[in-house]
Symmetry: C2
């Protein structure tokens, strides 16, 4: 392999603009500690800390940068369970968490126990939710997922998503929240329901990264394949497309080698892996599933 040449060369400007709207690696949020997943709800109910700690550890070792915790299947006791998860997971891994709840009260209590700078998942334009979460996130260093949910409806087109994102970004930064700590989630909807939903979300990622330099984008993958067979194949390819549109962060199962292999291959193909070093290292460590 020949020497790597930097991106300062002006003839590479197009490529640079298109594919390098962010500098860092794609940030991985490990999604497994969610009480809607088999095993987790029972472990939370029984206070099986060993089980939760193992799931946290496995995700950390597989490369997660944040560990998501979600106790949404316990509407009446969400706050108590979320707090237990924060303490249990942070006793095991030295990582920040993604506090995943639509409930500002639960977020606020979990936040008070959290060590370091968490990600709050999520704020949106739904009233009450925005107004009650805003003081929480502006009074504590954190990153925030800004979900492209409009006041009363789900967006359908790229344009609607960009519009909602624009309003969310405007209100958050207007309140002093740093642009670089906002992660816009374009809201992934199933292509089985409307075949335009994949392209609409991909378009939104690209447009948002272009329109608001410095902001981040994030999404989960599995909604896109809802109702279809061969979901892993679809999710994997959707990940490839999202990354090519400039996605900064992704919520996924980092222990899924097919997904992380896709991530590494795509980053390399887009010119973001100097000397192909990350990919080759991962291959030599047995982390690539061909």
């Amino acid at each position: 392999m020949v020497a790597y040449v930097g991106y300062n060369d002006p003839v590479w400007s197009w490529t640079l603009q298109r594919y390098n709207s962010r500098e860092a690696d794609v940030l991985i949020v490990g999604e497994k500690i969610n009480t809607s997943r088999k095993g987790i709800e029972e472990a939370v109910r029984k206070r099986d800390a060993a089980y939760i700690r193992k799931v946290a550890r496995d995700q950390a070792e597989a490369g997660a940068h944040y560990i998501d915790v979600n106790a949404g299947t316990f509407p009446d006791e969400e706050s108590r369970h979320l707090c237990w998860l924060v303490e249990t997971v942070q006793r095991e891994v030295d990582l920040p968490l993604s506090l995943d709840s639509p409930n500002p009260g639960a977020i606020s209590e979990a936040l008070s126990l959290h060590k370091g700078e968490p990600m709050i998942n999520s704020i949106s334009l739904e009233e009450d939710r925005f107004e009650s979460l805003l003081p929480v996130i502006t009074s504590h260093p954190c990153r925030v997922v800004a979900l492209c949910m409009a006041r009363t409806s789900m967006p359908t087109t790229t344009e609607e998503r960009v519009q909602v994102a624009s309003e969310l970004i405007g209100r958050l930064t207007g309140a002093g929240f740093p642009l670089g700590k906002i992660y816009v989630d374009p809201l992934i909807q199933p292509v089985s329901v409307d075949t335009r939903m994949g392209a609409a979300a991909l378009g939104a990622i690209g447009e948002i990264m272009k329109a608001f330099p410095g902001v981040n984008t994030i999404c989960g993958l599995s909604n896109v394949s809802f109702g279809l067979p061969a979901r892993n194949l679809i999710n994997r390819n959707f990940l490839a497309l999202c990354i090519s549109c400039g996605l900064s962060a992704v919520i996924l199962d980092p222990t899924d080698r097919q997904l992380t292999s896709t991530l590494l291959a795509v980053e390399m193909l887009l010119g973001r892996d100097d000397y192909c070093g990350n990919f080759i290292d991962a291959y030599q460590e047995g982390r690539i599933t061909g």
Copy 2:
């Protein structure tokens, strides 16, 4: 699944422009009948028609729209072998062929035996090659692959590729060759040699499709992963990225289920598979590898 809504709605314009620069499905050129591949050279030398016909049939049944024939490992007898391949393959399958040679003489002889409208692979700006092939392709209905090879060098950046493409398109259409029958090949180079080569080719596909509405783009996949491990994984993800940039046609092994599954998943995710029908049909017929 709810009713499919057409693309005429203006709010979908962005998506439409970005992902629907072509109307038709991705055109598949089956690459297996190439004397550089194991088994093929021997079959050609021994005139083993049964073997060649089976490889042709398998590719046709797997969905190839064109069957590539290449006898490039026989520099002194290329023309004779290419002609035999044309007759042998077209005796078996009712498909047009891609006549794959840099040699205008061999192309011309093979073309005279070909039934239907072949694809000529390829013309380029290398002198002699352009001048001697031009009268051949303008005197016979055909499609042509226009390879982004400059007169004396390989292009490196997106901009250089677009420049060469522009000159090729200008000279071909200036000579009366129809724009819609030109397939620009951006020339895929290994990311192991220069990590920017993937993005440069992807950028070229997108820019060429945007700059010359009605033109087509085509490429092979495997060069991109030259020198790296897990090449199938890399090639598959490169295919996904190429399609998302608007690639019209691809040269691949159509019997590779992982590649064709990727193609179907990506087309669906980009909103080009009404009701997800092609994907679901393929799954039900056992053609999807998850």
